[in-house]
């Protein structure tokens, strides 16, 4: 085992095109999509029959039968069946957290290679029975006689048979993510125009990335879909301005969040391939970037003053301090676009003097970023956001971006910052540096 930690290399990635829910992948399960994505990764890097250190992935919306989802995907893939795997779940932070876990094991010399990412389907979501019915069914399962079972069944009332469809809402606040985001948007005075502009740029950037072949070695088609079907290359501020607000409607005319500047429910999967430099060299695989450091933060969005999706605001200054960097020391910023307003509120918080002093405990704010470096090949507003898949998408994308750029200002290695907000008031952030 190496005496000092080494840095984990990001070698590349693979994802399937993301599809809007109940569309092209309506009949595909998490396991189907994750296995296919894994096989596409195996094909891209020539790993058929190879035993990797581990595969780590997860899904936010998960059937109980998929308790060992990632291991099942490995067993169904062309990887050696001797490759271990486990599931993680940290809401929208899943994919990035998985990459951090794999990178840390690589850094410690415990493994030489690993795959990290996630998958989600909003189409094939698990539907649970409501609590009353569940109790009756559990009791029936335990009943010894037919008479007992019939008796138990007879106790059911029609209202108890209504299923529990998973909702995109926080258990402790009862508010949906969009409603939470709308509150934060209002708090920070994020305008409708700014949100629509961000959304339009995201579509434009992703379309341009496809056009220049940037995604050729990041995406493998699935079920006949070759590009993300949420992508609207012709999206414009004017078109987006015509949409009706869907979140924060309690604010009347101040409601700013529409279906156009919020991510849709999406199906998809994404994975990143990581390894030690030695492993990559031995397999003649490219090292695009190194994962330098990472941080996860959480906020008290229930009883405290912070918004549900604002944890990255806290995670980034801690990460910067540890790394001795400023917010301006990056060539690329990959800030997950759960909602356009989330990205904009995060940027405003970092620029705010009062907030820096009162809430972040800093003498000065982090400052503003060069917006031309933000989500330069598009992000979730354009591609869509299958919750657990987003981290894998961003890690592979950013690794490729810093690799393409090579060096940044003053000849230092190109560097990028990832920031992903997650349900439960959490945020996962990381730094990648060109190899």
């Amino acid at each position: 085992m190496p005496s000092t930690p080494r840095r984990a290399a990001v070698i590349g990635g693979n994802r399937i095109p993301f599809a809007r829910a109940n569309g092209r992948y309506a009949r595909a399960s998490n396991l189907d999509m994750l296995t296919t994505t894994l096989d596409g990764l195996v094909a891209r890097y020539g790993l058929a029959g190879e035993r990797l250190g581990e595969v780590v992935a997860g899904a936010v919306l998960k059937h109980s039968r998929d308790f060992n989802l990632t291991r099942e995907a490995v067993l169904g893939s062309r990887l050696a069946p001797s490759t271990p795997a486990y599931d993680v779940q940290q809401a929208c932070g899943t994919g990035l957290e998985a990459a951090i876990l794999v990178a840390n094991k690589i850094a410690l010399g415990q493994i030489e290679s690993g795959v990290a990412g996630g998958v989600d389907t909003a189409s094939d979501a698990p539907i649970a029975v409501n609590e009353d019915l569940r109790k009756v069914l559990v009791a029936i399962n335990g009943a010894r006689t037919v008479q007992q079972r019939v008796k138990l069944l007879a106790k059911l009332r029609p209202g108890q048979i209504v299923p529990d469809i998973p909702r995109n809402s926080e258990p402790r606040t009862g508010l949906s993510m969009g409603e939470h985001a709308a509150i934060t948007a209002k708090e920070w005075g994020v305008s409708r125009e700014a949100q629509d502009e961000l959304a339009a740029v995201s579509h434009r950037n992703l379309a341009a990335a496809y056009e220049r072949g940037f995604l050729d070695d990041l995406v493998t088609p699935y079920l006949g879909l070759t590009r993300d079907d949420n992508l609207r290359p012709d999206s414009s501020v004017e078109k987006l301005a015509t949409l009706r607000p869907v979140f924060g409607t309690q604010f009347g005319d101040d409601a700013t969040m529409t279906a156009g500047n919020s991510t849709p429910l999406t199906d998809g999967a994404a994975l990143a391939l990581l390894g030690s430099d030695e492993w990559a060299a031995a397999h003649k695989l490219p090292v695009l970037a190194h994962l330098v450091d990472a941080e996860t933060a959480a906020v008290d969005y229930v009883h405290g003053r912070d918004g549900l999706l604002t944890a990255p605001v806290y995670a980034v200054p801690r990460l910067l301090e540890r790394s001795g960097l400023t917010l301006q020391d990056f060539d690329f910023y990959e800030i997950h676009e759960a909602f356009a307003s989330t990205v904009l509120a995060t940027l405003k918080a970092w620029e705010d003097v009062e907030f820096a002093k009162d809430r972040l405990g800093l003498d000065a704010p982090l400052g503003s970023i060069d917006r031309s470096r933000l989500n330069v090949t598009g992000s979730s507003l354009a591609a869509g956001h299958p919750f657990a898949a987003t981290g894998g998408r961003i890690v592979a994308t950013l690794a490729k971006l810093v690799h393409e750029k090579g060096t940044g200002e003053g000849g230092r290695k190109a560097r990028g910052l990832i920031s992903i907000c997650a349900a439960g008031g959490q945020g996962v952030v990381a730094i990648l540096e060109a190899a």
């Binding site: 595909a28 296995t35 296919t36 169904g76 079920l223």
Partner: protein, 272 residues
């Protein structure tokens, strides 16, 4: 389909059955739907991918098989025909969205130690190129075949050893497979109808067992492959079964057996 079974059941007791195989060739063209494929995959254990499972085209050919066997021109009565062996060769992976031309005919009407056997042969082509072949061998107990012809059944290796998997096969397996395959033979559907044909309980479709076993080898089977199975003791529903697999040169040998060791199915998968 149920109507065909009914018609065949009536036909079985009427006189005037043909003595030789009809020259009929039945054809259909079909583009499998994602939904059908997903349902089939869920029942048999295949993932939903861009390529059809090797056994899937069988369910596309099956309705034509039944139509052919239910006809008065067919020399054996459909009710009571037992599927004893099946051989499938996929020449290449078949992609989702490809339009498949399916042709079914009967051949090799021959004697079997316990009656007569016949093969239902299915060919699947894409734009004139053969991509898949299927041969289903059925036995009619006590029936007479034209003299002089002796049928042959595949000589499959016996696979012994520890179970690779234990399946708890639920009672509704026959009904679920019937829904995705169109094979609504009453012996698979529920205990009462199965009893009418002399089985103690409903039995699993042989092709379900075959598909389920192949699905267990996901990721380890070449796309162009020959999958040959022999059906032995019926798998009663519900029950617990064991899958045994053994790597062979250019493929796998496998068996499905009950917990006491009685064999339901033996099979081989080989690169084609």
């Amino acid at each position: 389909m149920i109507a065909l079974y009914a018609k065949a059941a009536v036909g079985a007791v009427l006189p005037g059955r043909a003595r030789s195989l009809p020259g009929t060739v039945l054809e259909r063209s079909v583009t499998p739907e994602v939904g059908h494929l997903a349902d089939y995959g869920r029942v048999c254990g295949f993932p939903l991918a861009d390529a059809l499972p090797l056994t899937f085209p069988h369910v596309l050919a099956f309705p034509l098989q039944v139509e052919l066997m239910a006809a008065r021109s067919f020399p054996l009565p459909l009710p009571g025909l037992v599927h004893v062996a099946n051989r499938i060769t996929a020449h290449r992976a078949i992609g989702l969205g490809e339009r498949l031309d399916v042709r079914v005919r009967a051949e090799r009407f021959a004697a079997h130690p316990r009656g007569a056997q016949v093969d239902l042969v299915a060919e699947v082509s894409v734009d004139g190129t053969r991509v898949w072949d299927g041969r289903s061998t059925y036995l009619a107990r006590g029936a007479q075949a034209p003299t002089g012809l002796a049928g042959e059944l595949p000589d499959l290796p016996e696979v012994d050893g520890p179970a690779a998997a234990v399946w708890r096969v639920p009672a509704d397996t026959g009904r679920r497979y019937a829904a995705v395959s169109g094979d609504v033979n009453p012996i698979h559907l529920n205990p009462v109808t199965a009893k009418a044909f002399g089985f103690p309980r409903a039995i699993a479709h042989g092709m379900w067992t075959a598909a389920r076993a192949l699905a267990a080898l996901q990721g380890r089977v070449p796309e162009a492959a020959t999958y040959e199975v022999g059906f032995r003791k019926p798998l009663l529903l519900p029950s617990t079964a064991e899958l045994v697999t053994e790597q062979a040169k250019e493929g796998w040998d496998l068996a499905v057996r009950n917990r006491k060791g009685a064999v339901h199915l033996t099979g081989t998968v080989r690169r084609a």
